[in-house]
Symmetry: C2
Subunit: 359 residues, 2 copies
């Protein structure tokens, strides 16, 4: 039924639906459900130890032998400085007394590590069908080892220039990530979020520019959007936010309550939470300090600083200091199992394809 | 061939392609060509005198008796104050000596007037098939007169809330204007451009929310995008930037040169030119002062202030102070006649529809 088989053939999957890797919100259960339903399940590995990744993959393997994707970050790493943390903390001065928090240094940090030699050895051992990267690609020697292990490599482009760069660097497919997308922007060459394009404009321009197949991401939450992505030239879609609503998602009650309250215009691309631009629900913090601040703390160290504000505020029932990531089509999501969602997406897309051809 | 006939029936047109009204860039020739090819030609009336509108419509009527659309602005009108102009001019201090311009008050102003009793009388006389408004709708008595004259009324929504408001106010159809769109944002309830959605996410949410047919705008520049818009539930598309490339467009050489240099990421939504957010090519000015400044001069008076900088800079070969509006799919445009473009769009869309159904 699919108008293009390029990604199906490349990844050896049945349906061109890729689960977005969502660090902290999806584990083996979500990935296994999507792979088992014929899509491509993705395990977000950026915040996991090597041992934990092994355990998760082995849990997936108890459910399905279908292809899976392991996802890693490739951010460049800036050493912590007390000066940087102090400067970042100063932006929060107005909230300190309100939340009853003593300003204290040493909270900066994150468990989000870039792809390393250790990760690479693990990939060589596990040999997942697909390895996806975010924030560009790892250094050439690591990338070559991943490819030599037989894994297909993909990464996200926010611009045509980034898509061409990824193709030249050896990617087997590229994700065109429009501004609608929830989560972190992949941007590794482009600097200005304000100049990046929505899926409707980005996708066909990436398709025209590269020879490798293109995966559409950003605003894809139902079968209509899948059909639209194929119309614009995509060979698959990557879907995150819609899967946050599923039974298998790790989203907690507060997160699910934000998702239920989603509208077309209550998310924003902001760097005030992690230091890198990411789309999530707009809060007092994104309005006061952003959405984009010129001087964030370097990703991902701001996470630790925010954690103390978030914990205190959430304990008082407020999510104004919480980074709950979601895309602009979040309001289209609903509670169901991940396999029900995957099957619904397939059926809806098929209905749209027939409706379009019966005109 | 079209999967939905709702807009075709409503406007009595053959193809669901609406020319975006582009003040300053399109006149009778462009509108007549699109209407004559079976789409809906739009005449941007905001900057024209009543006499001039009459002349333009009569020139269109020499080419075609097919339905046309007259477009008007509905911005609320703030009286000029010297204080506001002084404060706006101060932002340009760094450029004054560079451009050799003496700071002088009294340049503020614009010929862009909101829809008035005089315009309404003209509409009653000319009875165009469609009247479209931008920046909301006119006051109820004027709107009722337009509807009583038998005209179908449409306007642009940047959010679901705005679409619902327009439907309740009596619009016959609504334009879902995604962030990809070139030109001014229709925003009349929403305040934050950063929280507005791309076409991929906005369109299906507007379709789900309203009962009236929905016209997709933003990032639609070829047949792929038309097919995608129908997949997402649209009953027509509104296309502007692609028509800027045509023989009939009034775009001057400098504008056409900017269009030729368009990429997926060299436009930005900025309010530094007119005082209201509009997407156009990014320049030094949008980077230095914006893209969004909290304290612009009230639309549309900033135009006059900018005109002096623009004229001087352009005389020296620089477009850094020029507002050349364009959408994020501008790079997909090419030089041809407006009827060739309209026919190509129809043929391309048809090809995509058959490709999607042959999967």
């Amino acid at each position: 039924m699919w108008p293009s088989n390029r990604i199906l053939d490349l990844f050896d999957i049945q349906h061109p639906i890729i689960l977005s890797p969502m660090a902290g919100s999806g584990d083996h259960a979500l990935a296994a459900a999507v792979s088992n339903a014929g899509g491509l399940g993705s395990l977000p590995c950026a915040g996991l130890s090597v041992e934990k990744i092994k355990q998760e993959v082995s849990l997936i393997r108890e459910t399905t032998r279908n292809p899976i994707n392991l996802n890693f970050f490739c951010h460049s790493y800036n050493e912590y400085t007390e000066k940087a943390e102090r400067s970042w903390l100063e932006k929060f001065t107005p909230y300190l007394s309100e939340l009853g928090i003593e300003p204290a240094l040493g909270a900066a940090g994150s468990n989000k590590n870039p792809f390393s030699d250790e990760h690479c050895a693990l990939v060589e051992e596990l040999r997942p069908k697909v390895v996806s990267f975010h924030f560009g690609l790892p250094e050439t020697t690591l990338l070559q080892r991943v490819k030599a292990a037989g894994c297909k490599v993909i990464s996200s482009a926010n611009t045509v220039e980034e898509a061409l760069w990824l193709e030249r660097a050896g990617c087997d497919a590229v994700i065109a990530q429009g501004t609608e997308a929830g989560g972190h922007r992949g941007m590794f060459l482009s600097k200005s979020v304000a100049e990046q394009a929505g899926t409707f404009a980005l996708l066909p321009q990436v398709v025209d520019a590269v020879n490798i197949p293109v995966i559409a991401a950003g605003g894809v939450a139902d079968g209509r959007a899948i059909a639209a992505a194929f119309a614009l030239g995509a060979s698959a879609v990557q879907i995150g936010t819609a899967y946050l609503f599923t039974d298998e998602s790790l989203a907690n009650d507060m997160y699910r309550s934000k998702l239920k309250g989603a509208t077309d215009n209550n998310t924003v691309i902001t760097n005030v939470f992690s230091g890198k631009p990411a789309r999530g629900f707009a809060t007092r913090l994104t309005r006061d300090l952003g959405p984009i601040t010129d001087t964030p703390m370097d990703f991902p160290m701001g996470y630790g600083v925010l954690a103390q504000f978030k914990a205190k505020a959430e304990a008082e029932g407020s999510t104004e200091f919480s980074s709950y990531l979601a895309g602009q089509a979040a309001a289209l999501g609903r509670r169901e199992s991940a396999s029900e969602l995957t099957n619904r997406l397939i059926n809806e897309a098929e209905e749209v394809f027939s409706k379009l051809s019966s005109g």
